[in-house]
């Protein structure tokens, strides 16, 4: 077993476990902390896939900025205990059964559609694709318009969030 396989099992195990724990905890703060751990494990997987720039971005943007925002909002709101309010008792089991069925379908598609034996990844191309140099060059040449649009979107979101969250002025 190579080091890569061991690391993959470690990170994938953490990501899968924390995602399940996240949706089953009744305490929101603990759920948010499990989601942060999940994002950290995903950053590790990105590193295994040679996507170094996105691994760092994942830690800074997701595990850092977005989850801090979540925790602040949880702190502002009154933490209330979730009580089950399904009118029909079996509804929750039904939802999990649907989710499981869809997962089986996806797994069947992934495992039996076509063999990956034919795919021989070019490791050097893969390493080159993930560097900040390649991504920066693409971003500022071929994808300059979406990049500027993303900046405008962030500005609009900032203004929108301020207007939505502030108190009404009489």
């Amino acid at each position: 077993m190579t080091l890569e396989t061991i690391l993959f099992i470690l990170f994938a195990g953490i990501a899968a476990t924390t995602s399940v724990l996240m949706i089953t905890r009744s305490n929101i703060v603990i759920a948010a902390l499990f989601l942060i751990l999940n994002f950290g494990a995903l950053a590790g997987l990105y590193l295994l896939l040679n996507a170094q720039f996105l691994a760092v971005t994942q830690v800074i943007v997701y595990a850092g900025a977005i989850m801090v925002l979540f925790l602040f909002v949880i702190m502002l709101l009154k933490p209330e205990h979730e009580r089950s309010i399904y009118k029909i008792p079996g509804m929750k089991i039904f939802a999990f059964a649907i989710a499981f069925l869809v997962f089986v379908q996806l797994a069947y598609l992934i495992l039996f559609s076509s063999s990956s034996e034919k795919v021989s990844p070019d490791v050097q191309a893969s390493i080159n694709a993930g560097t900040i140099e390649t991504i920066g060059r693409e971003l500022f040449t071929n994808y300059i318009l979406p990049f500027e649009a993303a900046g405008f979107l962030l500005l609009a979101a900032t203004i929108g969030a301020l207007i939505l969250a502030k108190k009404k002025i009489e």
């Binding site: 995602s19 949706i23 996806l106 797994a107 050097q124 979107l153 962030l154």
Partner: protein
């Protein structure tokens, strides 16, 4: 790259389905929102997997833009949740039903 591509895709599918189950079963608006983030991340993992195995940076660029949109969406969505809480004193999505006829 000794780990086959199927394992990454299976993990991504699993996380997506867990996110779907979270949206379907949880009643707290914040947890529902976090489940949506989980689904976004599983899609990101798929994009990066294909991008890396094909040696093509465009998939990773797309993930970069998805992250931008996710940040904007988180800011606006949480502001909406705060505004909802201020009006209804609850974040339970079953009690927020004024748009349901």
């Amino acid at each position: 790259m000794s780990v086959p591509i199927e394992y990454y895709l299976l993990l991504s599918a699993f996380m997506f389905i867990v996110g779907v189950a979270g949206v379907l079963t949880r009643r707290n608006a914040i947890v529902v929102f976090m489940s949506v983030e989980l689904m976004l991340n599983s899609a990101n993992l798929t994009l990066i997997t294909f991008s890396s195995f094909m040696g093509n940076p465009v998939g990773q660029l797309f993930v970069f833009f998805v992250m931008t949109v996710a940040a904007a969406e988180a800011a606006v969505g949480l502001a909406i949740i705060i505004a909802l809480f201020r009006n209804k004193q609850t974040v339970n999505i079953d009690e927020i039903n004024i748009l349901k006829w």
